[in-house]
């Protein structure tokens, strides 16, 4: 505990999130929170070093932006490449890409909930940090841990069946995919669906039980208004692979309806701060910071009016009941709820894809020798909207690359969440480990994938740094 007045608290590294970052909290002279910043501390430069490569390589290079959601980059990139070829891929190819995407949603959402978030929920924010992790979960509740491992493995298994490996797939290619799904593999996945749905429902029960016990704290926890952006189908149902954008502002008014993502540059700009390698996207017509919005599970379920699968749609209805007066569900802790609803949807949608016989067709590629000058790929990654935009010459060489990654859209929100929580829990310079963990938990709600953010940006460790208002380091704390 530190009692000096006027200081900055730094959490470094932030743990149990997917990436590297740190938090600094600036205290005022009374020892209350003055400002809070979430820094992303790594830069890798994908936008630059992809220049001069050829577009065929992009779906294989860009997954390396992130080992957690490589499939999103793989598919987002492939979609941009389809646009360069100017082709519509065969129905089976689209279904197989979507299937792989669902595999990733299952693994990513399951991993986040069980491996990263659930220790807080099961052990409490104030538990011993040595125990408050997935290994602690294994020791405490091996049955639940086994189920968690298996559910994640089910999702990864779908990816492996299509791509031959679980991390950094090589399946989608410009114009389609490079392998089909065997009937045996299809049946094997189908055979596990009911079990997987039961696990998702178990997780939902667990989460709802926790919400019931802590309803006041949950609702209050990092609850603030922003805009929301997500992908929807023509009927404004939730969509994750292919669809249009829907944007709603902080008052609940629809800003963009069925917006063509290929025109994203008209509505999205990115702001830069010199203290973070992660940029801050905002809705261009409103400017920064008025135009900030959130993406990811909470945002997608806020902008969607329905879900095409029955069980998830039923959950969506109870989710919508948590809405504030603007009609939006705003508390950061509800990201977990939204995430589990999407998990359920992903499993249900996997079944629907597999029950369509086209999924096993071997008509999975189209080719073209002529290339458009640009291609834009938009996809909903587990953590939010992902844009890949390439410019190529007539030989297929990449001239320029622009990427807006999922976590970036939530950058401002994460900063806001950190500030809200810090403000609530740090008074008169009184800082406890549990409070710091709550700050981390606020970030963890967004499941930030900082490896993604650090395509241009960096990695996310968490420690607290305390400095005086003039920037002088008074004390550095690692919890």
């Amino acid at each position: 505990m530190v009692t000096e007045a006027k200081r900055t608290i730094e959490i470094n590294p932030i743990t149990r999130i997917e990436g590297h970052g740190k938090v600094t909290i600036q205290l005022n002279e009374a020892g209350d929170v003055d400002s809070a910043r979430f820094h992303v501390t790594q830069f890798r430069g994908f936008e630059k070093f992809c220049e001069g490569r050829v577009f065929w390589e992009m779906p294989v290079i860009t997954p390396r932006i992130c080992g957690i959601c490589p499939v999103s980059h793989h598919l987002g990139s492939a979609k941009a490449c389809d646009a360069i070829l100017g082709v519509n891929i065969p129905p089976a190819a689209k279904m197989l890409r979507e299937l792989m995407h669902m595999g990733q949603y299952i693994q990513s959402h399951a991993m986040h909930f069980f491996y990263l978030a659930s220790p807080d929920l099961l052990f409490g924010f104030d538990a011993d940090p040595a125990k408050r992790n997935v290994i602690g979960l294994i020791a405490e509740n091996p049955d639940l841990a086994t189920k968690a491992v298996k559910l994640r493995s089910f999702g990864q298994g779908i990816i492996k069946k299509l791509a031959g490996k679980k991390v950094h797939p090589n399946h989608a290619i410009p114009g389609g995919v490079n392998s089909c799904l065997s009937i045996a593999d299809r049946d094997e996945i189908l055979g596990q669906i009911d079990w997987a749905i039961a696990q998702a429902q178990l997780a939902l029960e667990l989460l709802k039980g926790y919400y019931n016990q802590h309803s006041i704290e949950i609702r209050r926890f990092a609850n603030f208004s922003t805009g929301y952006m997500g992908m929807v189908d023509k009927k404004n149902n939730l969509k994750l692979y292919d669809g249009n954008l829907r944007l709603i502002d902080r008052k609940g008014i629809v800003l963009e309806e069925q917006f063509d993502p290929a025109k994203y540059l008209d509505i999205i700009n990115e702001h830069v701060e010199d203290w973070s390698y992660l940029k801050f996207p905002f809705y261009k017509p409103l400017g920064y910071p008025a135009g900030i919005y959130r993406t990811g599970p909470l945002a997608r379920l806020n902008v969607a009016t329905g879900i095409s699968t029955p069980l998830a749609n039923k959950e969506l209805k109870s989710f919508k009941k948590l809405a504030e007066r603007n009609g939006m569900v705003e508390g950061s802790m509800y990201y977990h709820y939204a995430r589990l609803i999407e998990l359920l949807y992903a499993i249900e949608w996997t079944r629907e894809l597999l029950e369509n016989e086209v999924v096993c067709s071997n008509d999975i590629q189209v080719t073209s020798k002529v290339f458009n000058e640009q291609g834009i790929g938009f996809i909903e990654a587990p953590r939010g909207a992902l844009f890949h935009h390439y410019w190529v010459d007539k030989s297929g060489k990449v001239l320029k690359v622009n990427l807006i990654v999922a976590t970036g859209h939530n950058n401002f929100a994460m900063n806001q969440a950190v500030y809200e929580v810090a403000k609530d829990f740090i008074k008169k310079a009184k800082v406890t480990e549990g409070i710091l963990n709550r700050v981390e938990a606020a970030i963890r709600c967004y499941d930030p994938c900082l490896s993604c953010s650090t395509h241009a940006l960096g990695q996310m460790p968490f420690s607290i740094r305390i400095t005086s208002p003039n920037g002088e380091l008074i004390k550095e704390m690692s919890q």
Partner: protein, 178 residues
């Protein structure tokens, strides 16, 4: 038997190696019985404590990462490089083929969606190295598990060897660079 103390680190990389570790699935539960995890992206321990094995994913691209790696080296008996970035520099190394400033300029100023950009700099963010480096070009590394990411079998093999008190050398059939 005392548990083997392990710390896992993630420097300049994508988390793919850690994901491949999670892909051991149920085997993790067995490993957890023989291993005590210290600082790791999956725990909340932030300090670098004395451990038996330090495992590092990712290459070294900033002064901060360089410091962390050196500190880990001092605190572990065996240092293992995990994945292509740690072993060779990997995809992160592609930045080394160009000027660092050009890459930053593209990322934070020239990109089409960036509005009134500026280049982030210390102290808010760490200083970038001019060239991205593999671990063994900064500290002594005892063993290497290449792959992007390494296959779960290779990770299991390496951990099993370490638990048996041997320094692993990945056998030919498990070697993988992609």
């Amino acid at each position: 038997m005392a548990k083997v103390k392990v710390a896992t680190f993630w420097l300049e990389g994508c988390a793919g190696c850690h994901m491949s570790f999670l892909d051991l699935d149920e085997a993790i539960i067995d490993i957890a019985k023989a291993v005590e995890f210290h600082r790791s992206p999956i725990t909340d321990i932030k300090e670098i404590e004395q451990v038996d094995v330090g495992i590092v994913e990712g290459s070294v691209g900033s002064t901060e990462e360089e410091d962390v790696l050196k500190e880990l080296r001092e605190h572990c008996k065996i240092l293992m490089a995990w994945g292509n970035c740690a072993c060779f520099g990997g995809i992160c190394g592609m930045r080394s083929t160009m000027d660092k400033e050009d890459a930053l300029r593209r990322g934070y100023i020239e990109t089409e969606s960036t509005y009134q950009g500026k280049i982030p700099h210390p102290p808010g963010v760490p200083q970038l190295l001019d060239k991205v480096k593999a671990l063994n070009h900064i500290v002594k590394v005892d063993c290497f598990v290449p792959g992007c990411p390494p296959a779960p079998e290779a990770i299991t093999y390496a951990l099993t060897e370490l638990l048996a008190g041997r320094i692993p050398v990945i056998p030919i059939q498990m070697m993988r660079f992609d």
